[in-house]
Symmetry: C3
Subunit: 337 residues, 3 copies
């Protein structure tokens, strides 16, 4: 399905600099792109590659010039790239839209229209599955779960009893949602398990990666709010609440009863200790350990995580000490002893 | 199932301050509790919330006073909370207690009484499963495994060949026990895989979280001792031995041939390098990296993990240097050059 | 199957010091070894145990002497140990070499000779599976995947659409390969998912541990090259390229578009930020965070990861400051104020 550069510009609401009739077959990365393809720059450090690419056109932001190149200018070239890939290279998957005879579906489950359950899916008692849901092979849906329409759950993922999943949610493979959390009361001899009788709620438009674990509430709930995106190999403990449109990247760990705001970014491998509050629009650097509440809007780094400006100060403190000691030594001159 | 506060006090061995005839319907968190519910304080920093809660009663330790509130005083309110939730809100799950026709059970397996095998369970050759064991959908039990009575294994968990699991063990979803470990001998050109012919032993009353991996011994065994509780997304390598009643929280990583004592706590994200010994009653802080043997009884923090007192000293060293340099500068007065 | 020490020496290309006719039944660790067994020293810190072991023989490197002990001397005792275990204690597993009737195999799949598909295996459209492949229970093979001969995939592992796996690859349980990666473009209101239309390629002789996640390319591919060994609980993001014979140990996290060279070692819990290049023969210490390109051949440690020599310098800087300040104080004498 070829498109002219003009057709793509119209689709994206962008502007062409160069030959608007050139034919585009698809999208390729800037290193691999050949004639007939459009490309883009994913990272500012590769900007100079625009000059060298063999691509027939390049998605760029306003103000970028490249002599002799065909440019498609939009305010948000990364978004434009995503939309062109979806348009030209991402055919919609056709699902069977039936319950396979090798799936195990309880009689009390309420299943909507056009639901796909692949072989070896297990659906427990009193489960509600809305229209167009896709359950891949080996998915386990415990008793009393609810799954909203257009949601896709990838192979071997487990939803424990009572989990509520919204609409247009995507959960990747081998992930565990609504697992009984980790809580033990010492009883003088050994540990008594704190019963975990709450649930987990995943709101609309949330994505969750592979091999991630999200526990249910002890009482009440663990809640992931609308539009939040969680990566793979992440751990989220009981009674955590994560706001809207927040990004939780891979290998992040969030301990019990943490509250995280809206539009937060936790970079890979960061951790948050129990009962901490993280405000809106906070950014936490990779491999940082948060052990104090973080106010809205700051950028924090290190373990314990501190504001990025204060981190620079610690390095400066040592450099400053070195300089001052050298000055003192010079002023005293060589030791006469 | 309502109870009076007096009935709860008798059940727990506690004492009522206030109205012992008040009816309790269940347990709620201190923020959400309404009339008719009992609550508790999970964290010392919420203690002042006792005054504001709408709960009909509060579980407290001796010595806590709250005018006009009904208190149920026990030595261990956290344990009391767990017991009341179990009593009032945690109905025992009723299992089918049969082998589902969609489970695959080898002819040579010995299966006890009242065992539940849900659909898509696989049980290999010469496996022994004791009475009342529950195997959820998708559980894989490799050849020669043994599972003790009253043990519950959650969906899609994998027990590899020869794994021995004790009684009353709980293993959560998508966890892998007895996996072949990571060992390679360089042979001059590439790597030769060290064969892993040992097993994994999980003793009685151990809990293991979701998405956790525990490797088997190279020779001999990996052993998790009685009463130890392991959280989710944890990695335990070959030939590790973990003592009794030890707490291993989420995302902890333990390298090969490590020995960990009894009553140890490893906080979230901590790691222990290969061949290290950690004594009894040690506590290791979150995200710490242990690279030296740790004697019994201390608290350790940081990477490399050092005693918490020494960590404070490093910060003090820099502050002390700043102070001394300032004093020296003052004594020398302004530089005349 | 007993062997004489001479037979083992001939098999390994080694030399006997002591009684070459002594009979060996198997291999045991140095602490547990009894008469009739051969042992070895896994770690230099246990070298003195050679004197105390009850083993009938010990695998050692040239130059190690132990009076009255039977020694089998080879250049690489660790490799020799592995080969003796394989010879004497690691019977080859006998597979059914058939497709179980409880497996779900699409009509369009091309299945080679002697392939084993255990119950509850799912094989999608247009999959190609070469000779002697073993797919354990619950394995999911998405549409268009290719699996090379003699490859073994352990229970409940998921290969997503289009994944290409080489020959003699081993993938452990509950691992996810070719998962859609984590990429979102902010669109002014919320996030637009970057479509992930690439694939993952696992070359020959790669091993991958349990509960590991490897994403596919956004465009193009994620590629793990020949002979590389990846441990458990590892996260590898989209478009990563890992060289040959590289060791990625447990809980390592590698962000998008990272390039890692040949013969690299990333120790447990290390992380690499996006778009970083790591040269050949680099070693990165445990729990280190790599945020700058690393040239070939160095050893790096800490977060941000720096050369091990520079790390020592920071500690030395503080010690040096303490020493100089003390000297300055002594030269000025007691403060008279």
């Amino acid at each position: 399905m070829e498109k002219t550069l003009k057709e793509l510009a119209d689709y994206l609401g962008g502007e062409v600099i160069g030959d608007e009739n050139i034919k585009i077959k698809g999208v390729m990365t800037i290193d691999e792109a050949r004639e007939g393809y459009i490309t883009f720059v994913s990272n500012i450090k590769y900007l100079k590659k625009i000059e060298e690419t063999a691509a027939s056109a390049i998605l760029v932001s306003p103000g970028i010039a490249a002599k002799g190149k065909n440019l498609l200018v939009t305010k948000n070239p990364y978004l434009a790239f995503a939309k062109v890939v979806d348009l030209m290279m991402n055919p919609e998957k056709v699902y069977p839209r039936t319950l396979d005879s090798s799936a195990s579906v309880s009689d009390s489950a309420q299943i909507g229209s056009n639901v796909t359950a692949y072989p070896f899916v297990f659906i427990g008692e009193n489960v509600k599955v809305a229209d167009n849901v896709v359950l891949y092979p080996g998915v386990y849906v415990g008793d009393d779960c609810q799954i909203g329409k257009d949601t896709i759950i990838h192979p071997n993922t487990v939803l424990h009893k009572g989990t509520v999943v919204g609409e247009r949610v995507v959960i990747h493979s081998n992930t565990v949602i609504g697992c009984s959390g980790y809580g033990y009361a010492p009883d003088g001899k050994t540990y008594y398990k704190i019963p975990q009788v709450g649930i987990t709620v995943i709101e609309d438009d949330v994505d969750i990666g592979a091999n991630t674990t999200i526990n249910r509430g002890v009482l009440g709930e663990t809640r992931i709010k609308r539009g939040t995106k969680i990566d793979s190999e992440v751990m989220i403990a009981h009674n955590v609440e994560i706001g809207e449109d927040t990004l939780i990247t891979s290998q992040v760990g969030i301990a019990g009863s943490v509250e995280i705001g809206n539009n937060v970014i936790l970079a890979g491998g960061a951790g948050v200790a129990g009962h901490i509050k993280v405000g809106d629009n906070v950014q936490v650097g990779g491999w940082s350990g948060v052990i104090k509440d973080l106010p809205s809007g700051g950028t924090f780094l290190g373990t314990p995580a501190i504001e990025i400006e204060r981190m620079r100060k610690i390095k400066d403190t040592i450099k400053d000490l070195q300089k001052k000691v050298k000055q003192l030594e010079e002023r005293l001159g060589p030791d006469q002893k």
